[in-house]
C-alpha cells in the first residue's frame, strides 16, 4: 500500500493497464514528454514508449475520431481531453459516433474507449476549464459516466473503465487531484461501474452526491451530527447508470433525502436522482427531496466562484429544511 493523491492513483491505474494489456493506448494533447498538463500521464511515455503513449495534434474532435478508428483495429484507447470544457469540440465524436458504434453496427463493432478529462470548479481557471458538463454525457445513451471522489475509487474505477468493452467517460475533479492522500494498493483492483458507495452511514437523512460535492456533503454531515442528526452520505461514483438499488435502500431507511451537485440546477443529475426516488420510494418519504446545485448561469468568472459553487453550508441549509419539514 502507498499513500497516493488522486492524480497519482490515476497515473498508477494507467500504468497498471498499459502493463496488463498491450492494446491499451494513451494519447492526447501534451500527454507524452510533458506528462499531461496535470501530470496524469507523468513518466508513462518513458516507460511504455511513444508507440503506446503519444501526443496528438491539437484538435479534440480529431482525438475522438482517432480513438474510434483505433478501437476498430482492436485497440483499447484511453484518450485525454485536456479540459472537459473543450468537450463541445468533440461532441459528435462522442455522442454521434462513439456512443453509437455498437448500436449502429448491430453489435458487430464495439468501442472500448475510455475518455479521461479533468473538470470542476474552485481552482480559478480561465473560462471553459471548470464547467460541470457531465449531464451532456449522461443524456447520451451508450455512454457510461464515472466521477470518482477519492484516490482509491479513482484507481479501481479507472481500471474497470479501461477494461469495459463500451465507451466510458471518466471525469476527474480538478480540485480533488491533489487535495488529499489515502492508502491505495499498488496492484490492480477494480471497482464495479454502476455501483455507488455509502461513504458515511446514518439514519435520519440521505445525502446523495458525486465528485467534489461528496466531500462538502461529508463535511455537512459531520456538522449536522454535532446537532444531533444522523446523516448518510452516498457517493454515486457512476452517474450513468445510477445505482438505484443503493439510493432507494438508503431513502427507505432514512425517509428523507437531498441531492447535491456542483453543476447548475437545470437538467442535472440531481433532477434525475429525484425523479428516480419519487417514482420508486414516494411512500417512504417524510419530506420532499430537495436539490443543492449551482445557479442556472454559465460557469462564473473566477472572482465569483466562491459564492457560486455549492459548499457544505448550502448542503446543511437544505438538509435542515428537509430534516425539519
Amino acid at each position: 500500500m502507498a499513500q497516493m493523491t488522486m492524480i497519482q492513483a490515476i497515473t498508477d491505474a494507467l500504468r497498471v493497464e498499459l502493463k496488463n494489456d498491450e492494446n491499451v493506448l494513451v494519447f492526447g494533447e501534451d500527454i507524452g514528454v510533458n506528462g499531461g498538463v496535470f501530470r496524469a500521464t507523468e513518466g508513462l511515455q518513458k516507460e511504455f514508449g511513444v508507440d503506446r503513449v503519444f501526443d496528438t495534434p491539437l484538435a479534440e474532435s480529431g482525438i475522438g475520431g482517432l480513438a474510434i478508428g483505433l478501437s476498430l483495429q482492436g485497440y483499447r484507447p484511453v484518450p485525454e481531453i485536456q479540459f472537459f470544457g473543450f468537450v463541445y469540440e468533440v461532441m459528435d465524436s462522442i455522442s454521434g459516433q462513439l456512443a453509437r458504434m455498437s448500436y449502429r453496427s448491430g453489435g458487430v463493432y464495439n468501442a472500448p474507449v475510455t475518455i479521461r478529462s479533468p473538470f470542476g470548479g474552485g481552482v480559478h481557471t480561465p473560462e471553459m476549464h471548470s464547467d460541470s458538463l457531465e449531464s451532456l454525457m449522461t443524456a447520451q445513451p451508450g455512454l457510461t459516466v464515472v466521477v470518482p471522489s477519492t484516490p482509491y475509487d479513482a484507481k479501481g474505477l479507472l481500471i474497470s473503465s479501461i477494461r469495459n468493452d463500451n465507451p466510458v467517460i471518466f471525469l476527474e475533479h480538478l480540485k480533488l487531484y491533489r487535495s488529499f492522500r489515502e492508502e491505495v494498493p499498488e496492484e490492480a483492483y477494480t471497482i464495479p461501474l454502476g455501483k455507488a458507495d455509502v461513504k458515511r452511514e446514518g439514519k435520519d437523512l440521505t445525502i446523495i452526491a458525486y465528485g467534489l460535492m461528496v466531500h462538502e456533503s461529508l463535511k455537512a454531515a459531520e456538522e449536522l451530527e454535532k446537532e444531533g442528526h444522523s446523516v448518510e452520505v452516498i457517493d454515486l461514483r457512476t452517474i450513468q447508470p445510477l445505482d438505484i438499488e443503493t439510493i432507494i435502500a438508503s431513502v427507505e431507511k432514512t425517509g428523507r433525502a437531498i441531492v447535491v451537485q456542483e453543476a447548475q440546477k437545470q437538467a442535472g443529475i440531481a433532477a434525475n436522482v429525484v425523479a428516480e426516488i419519487t417514482e420508486r420510494a414516494i411512500l417512504s418519504l417524510e419530506a420532499p427531496v430537495l436539490r443543492v446545485a449551482a445557479p442556472d448561469t454559465v460557469y462564473p468568472f473566477p472572482q465569483a466562484e466562491g459564492v457560486w459553487l455549492p459548499n457544505f453550508k448550502d448542503v446543511m441549509e437544505t438538509a435542515k429544511k428537509v430534516l425539519t419539514f
Binding site: 474532435s61 480529431g62 482517432l66 478508428g69 459528435d92 448500436y103
Partner: protein, 371 residues
C-alpha cells in the same frame, strides 16, 4: 522573376503558383482516347472488362434503387449515377484487407468490397441487419455526419500502421464535406502520424444545392492537402483510368510508409442529392446537366473498350440482365428479413451486459413485444 533577389514575399503570387500546379489529371478523354500514354495503368483485358462491368452494374443498381424508392420499397437513398468512375475505379485499386469508411452516397464501394446487396437495401430501409457487416468485410456503415468519417479514417489508418499491416484506410466525402472541421482534422492527423490513409473528395459540384464556388475560395479542393503537408491530386473523376491510377499510387505510397494522400475527383451527380424530396432544378440548369453528360464515365470507358474489342452490346446487355436479376434476389432476401424489434436495438446498444436502466426498460418492451 528572380526569387533570390526578391526580398518582398508576395503571398498572392505564392497562392497563384500553388493553385496553378493543381492541373486536372486525365488519362482517358471524353471520346474514350488515351491522352496520357505515360500514365496508362495498362490494366489487363480482364481487369478492364471487370471495371466496366461494375460501372454498368452500379448504374443499373442506381436506376433500380430510385424506382424502388419511388415505389416505397426502399427508404433513404442517395443517387450515384455520374460518380461511377470516381467511386468504383478508386475502389478497384484497393485490396480486400483495406478498410473503407464511406459517406452515405458511397454504398457501391462497400457493396463491391463485399457487403451483400440485401444488406445495402436493409440499410436503406433503416434495418440494423443492413449495418451488420459480415466478418472479413472491412467496411463501416455509411456515415451520415458529413466529415466524421475523415477523423475516424485517421484512427483506422493509425491502427493499421501500429499493427504493421500492409493495408490502407480509405474514406470518401463530397465537396461540401471538405469544408468541415473534421475534414481538416482528419487529413492533418493522418499527415502528422504519416499513417496509411487515402482521403477522397468526390467533388460532384453541389452540396445539396450549394455550388462548389460558394463552398470555398480555394481554386481546387485538392490543394487543401498542401496545408496538411500531404500529397494531393486533382483527378478527372469521370475518367476511370485516372481515378484508378491516382488511388493505386496513393495506396502504394501508404503501404510503403509514405503516409496519406488527398484525392479530389471532379465529377457530377446526375440525380438529386437524395430521394427525400430534393429537386435539382431549383439549383442547377439543364445546360449544366447536359454539359456533364458528355463527360459520362460509362460512355467514355465503353468507347475505349469497344475500340479494343473488349465490349459490345451483348456484353452490356448481359451485365444489365445480371444486375436486374441479382437486385431482384436481394430485394427478396431483404423482404424476408424479420422485422426488427426495440429489444433487439436495446441488445445492440452495449457489448455485454446492459446498464441497469436499460435492463429495466428491456423487460417492459419484451412484454409489449410478446403481445
Amino acid at each position: 522573376m528572380s526569387k533570390k533577389n526578391n526580398n518582398m514575399f508576395d503571398p498572392k503570387q505564392t497562392l497563384v503558383e500553388i493553385e496553378e500546379k493543381f492541373e486536372m489529371f486525365q488519362i482517358l478523354n471524353e471520346d474514350g482516347e488515351i491522352v496520357n500514354e505515360q500514365a496508362d495503368p495498362k490494366l489487363s483485358d480482364e481487369e478492364l472488362v471487370e471495371l466496366m462491368t461494375r460501372m454498368v452494374y452500379t448504374r443499373i443498381l442506381d436506376q433500380r434503387s430510385i424506382s424502388l424508392n419511388r415505389q416505397g420499397r426502399l427508404g433513404f437513398y442517395a443517387p450515384t449515377a455520374g460518380q461511377e468512375a470516381s467511386q468504383l475505379a478508386s475502389h478497384f485499386a484497393l485490396e480486400k484487407e483495406d478498410w473503407i469508411l464511406p459517406g452515405y452516397r458511397d454504398v457501391p464501394q462497400i457493396v463491391w468490397h463485399g457487403l451483400p446487396l440485401e444488406k445495402a437495401f436493409l440499410f436503406s430501409r433503416g434495418h440494423f441487419v443492413g449495418n451488420q457487416v459480415p466478418e472479413g468485410v472491412n467496411v463501416l456503415a455509411p456515415q451520415i455526419i458529413i466529415g466524421a468519417q475523415y477523423i475516424q479514417t485517421a484512427g483506422v489508418a493509425l491502427g493499421l500502421q501500429k499493427r504493421g499491416k500492409k493495408a490502407v484506410a480509405v474514406t470518401y466525402t463530397g465537396d461540401g464535406g471538405s469544408s468541415q472541421g473534421d475534414f481538416y482534422e482528419g487529413i492533418n492527423f493522418a499527415g502528422a502520424f504519416k499513417s496509411p490513409a487515402i482521403f477522397i473528395v468526390q467533388n460532384n459540384q453541389f452540396a445539396i444545392s450549394t455550388p462548389r464556388e460558394s463552398q470555398t475560395a480555394a481554386k481546387t479542393l485538392a490543394q487543401k492537402g498542401v496545408a496538411a503537408g500531404i500529397p494531393s491530386i486533382l483527378v478527372d473523376g469521370m475518367d476511370a483510368l485516372a481515378v484508378y491510377v491516382a488511388t493505386r499510387d496513393a495506396r502504394e505510397r501508404a503501404v510503403n510508409g509514405e503516409g496519406p494522400t488527398l484525392i479530389e475527383t471532379m465529377c457530377y451527380r446526375y440525380g438529386p442529392h437524395t430521394m427525400a424530396g430534393d429537386d435539382p432544378t431549383r439549383y442547377r440548369t439543364s445546360d449544366k446537366d447536359s454539359e456533364w453528360a458528355l463527360k459520362d464515365p460509362l460512355v467514355r470507358f465503353r468507347k475505349y473498350l469497344e475500340a479494343k474489342g473488349l465490349w459490345d452490346e451483348a456484353k452490356e446487355e448481359s451485365v444489365i440482365e445480371r444486375a436486374k436479376e441479382e437486385i431482384k434476389e436481394a430485394i427478396k432476401k431483404a423482404d424476408a428479413t424479420p422485422k426488427q424489434t426495440v429489444t433487439q436495438l436495446m441488445d445492440n446498444m452495449y457489448k455485454g451486459e446492459m446498464p441497469s436502466n436499460l435492463k429495466e426498460q428491456y423487460e417492459i418492451y419484451k412484454e409489449k413485444e410478446s403481445k
